[in-house]
């Protein structure tokens, strides 16, 4: 069992995917340089420039062209260089990728994967630290998954490729090198739509996804050391959401904190909190609290740490709900 990091896990999944001749990769600088994060490193050499395609700087064009390819029977995997550069492609994604099945009543479909590196924490320039998963999770017709470990990165990407519908695949930049672990033994896909019970507990549920799983588990460790039994859930899949898992956990512990790095207002945490109170209100012994990025543009390097939810902020919310 060799340990790999998150970027390598994704690289392995892409490598395996390319064994299927229908698979093509498209993106800015993914070929010759192997991507700005080296996630596609070596793939162009191995599979050729016709299948690992360096494109002009044109996100709408990349997604639109990939959509056409998918219509014509290929299985494109698109890389948006950063989430902040995915917005020019938003129209293609919402108006076409997400809808062609509906528009044609299953006659035409566009199974494809749109990989988007997201999130803050590396002191990057403006637009390089976005976490706008909410704008994708709100679009009917898409599935939206977020990886957090080499294992689920490999598993979710494999599942996304097998999925007959388009999948937005979010990759936490902050974990590309930092998250290390083994690949799934059997190379099996991780079912889209199922959350991962990171650990079981009975006093408190911490629900998160992506890069914030680090702070979340660190907070859980601290709480456990203080004798609190913490359940930690890694959503993995925002759409479809594993409502059963969330609701069961909330009913069991009665105390829930949701953690994500996107701004609070209109963030996906609102959806999680709303669902939990809908289905577990009378089990709740405290309000479902959200620990999130603030409602501001992610600050640049010097103040970025003020933005990202810290272990302390999670703990502070945990203590609040535990008090009630």
């Amino acid at each position: 069992m060799t340990e790999v990091n998150l970027a390598q896990a994704i690289n392995s999944a892409l490598d395996r995917a390319l064994e299927d001749p229908r698979v093509v990769l498209l993106g800015e600088d993914i070929g010759q340089t192997g991507g700005v994060f080296r996630v596609t490193d070596g793939l162009m050499e191995k599979y050729g420039a016709e299948r690992v395609i360096d494109t002009p700087v044109a996100e709408s064009g990349i997604v639109g062209a990939a959509f056409g390819m998918a219509i014509a029977g290929l299985l494109p995997i698109v890389e948006m260089q950063f989430m902040g550069f995915s917005y020019p492609a938003y129209d293609q994604i919402i108006s076409h990728v997400a809808r062609i099945r509906h528009r044609s009543r299953h006659r035409f479909t566009a199974p494809m994967v749109i990989r988007i590196p997201y999130g803050a924490g590396i002191g990057a320039s403006e637009h390089h630290s976005e976490s706008t998963e909410a704008i994708y999770a709100h679009i009917p017709g898409l599935k939206v998954v977020v990886c957090s470990t080499p294992d689920n990165a490999y598993g979710l990407l494999s599942a996304a490729l097998e999925d007959p519908d388009p999948v937005i695949f979010l990759e936490p930049i902050r974990l590309y090198r930092a998250a290390r672990g083994a690949l799934p033994e059997d190379g099996d896909p991780t079912p889209i739509g199922s959350a991962r019970l990171e650990r079981k507990g009975s006093d408190l549920s911490l629900i998160s996804y992506g890069a914030m799983m680090r702070e979340t588990t660190a907070a859980a460790d601290r709480l456990e050391a203080e004798g609190v039994s913490v359940e930690v859930i890694d959503l993995q899949s925002l759409v479809p959401i594993d409502a059963d898992c969330l609701v069961a956990s909330a009913r069991k512990t009665g105390r829930v904190v949701v953690i994500h790095e996107a701004p609070s207002t209109g963030g996906f945490g609102g959806e999680v909190a709303a669902r939990i109170q809908e289905q577990a209100l009378f089990y709740l012994r405290a309000p479902v609290l959200r620990v999130t990025g603030w409602d501001v543009v992610v600050p640049l390097r010097q103040a970025e740490h003020h933005y990202l939810p810290s272990v302390e902020r999670i703990l502070s919310a945990a203590y609040t709900v535990l008090e009630d």
Binding site: S60, G68, A72, L74, R103, S104, R105, P164, P240
Partner: protein, 354 residues
Amino acid sequence: MLQQLACQIMSGLLQILSPDGRTVNGTQPQVSTVIRRYEAMIESRLYDRKASALQRQGRLATYASYAGQEACQIGAVAPLSRRDWLVASYRDAAAMRFFGYPWKNLLLTRIGDERGGCPPEGVNALPPSITVGGHMIHAVGIAWAEILQGGDAVALTMFGDGATSEGDFHEAMNFAGVYRTPTIFFCQNNGWAISMPRSRQTASPTIAQKAEAYGFGGVMVDGNDVLAVEAAVSEAVGRARSGQGPTLIEAITYRMNAHTTTDDPRRYRDNQEVEEWQKRDPLERVRLWLVDQGAWDEARQAEAERKATERIEAAVQEAEAIPPFTATEIFDAMYATPTGALLDQRRRAQVERP
């Protein structure tokens, strides 16, 4: 013929049949082919009238008339074969029909039923694009896939003069140029984008010349001349099929009616302009030529109209016979398999709205 064509293209607007029904430059079209094109144009014109009437009766939602653009529509798709792809817009019902997309489906979309977007298997045409500009790149991706898969099909995309202002037009043209995809960009420059005249849509003298910015060729053609359109597209298809990459075709034409049935063109254009274009009717010149060849007369006209009307009426009946979706059917085509949330909502839709 190609040689001759190219030379006319160089000298400006390609025309084969003049408005008074004479062939230009000594071309000798095949009568049987011209009859087939003309019959398709007749049927198209009648469908357009029918659909407009249905809309006035409240039986369609909105409708976008293509009257005046029939030569573009038939000429553009005539050179395509079944394995090729058509990626067209809301105003291209005649082109889509001629390519094999049934009137029934086109009507359904306008009636307001998503099943319109589901043509029979084997018809390689995407449902008409409602957004302006976004679909052209799809024809690039499809054509590109064709290269990668070793096929020789081409993709033709139809759009208006207004659509050339969208950023997506640029990205589509640029990708096609860089990857030399077998894509034909067919622009129907009908003079207007709703209320915006072509002259204020872009400051470039022609749309055709925009192709040069992407490293490939553009041609201008008389869009009311079905033979000229077909010739220009044929050549572009030939180039695309033989690996010579994309072409932009600007067909100069005119939208005779309102933008859609909710538009009032008197607010922005002179009736005089419309009358001028009336004289360049795309059907009339073909009829004149055929009559001149002794290949057409009033009886044949009546017969063609009768047959076309029958087909159209049958399509209307078929389309209108389809019962609208029930409250639960609207959930059935978002994903291959509905998500849990959708199943839940579908159940609620049944309960809450009995």
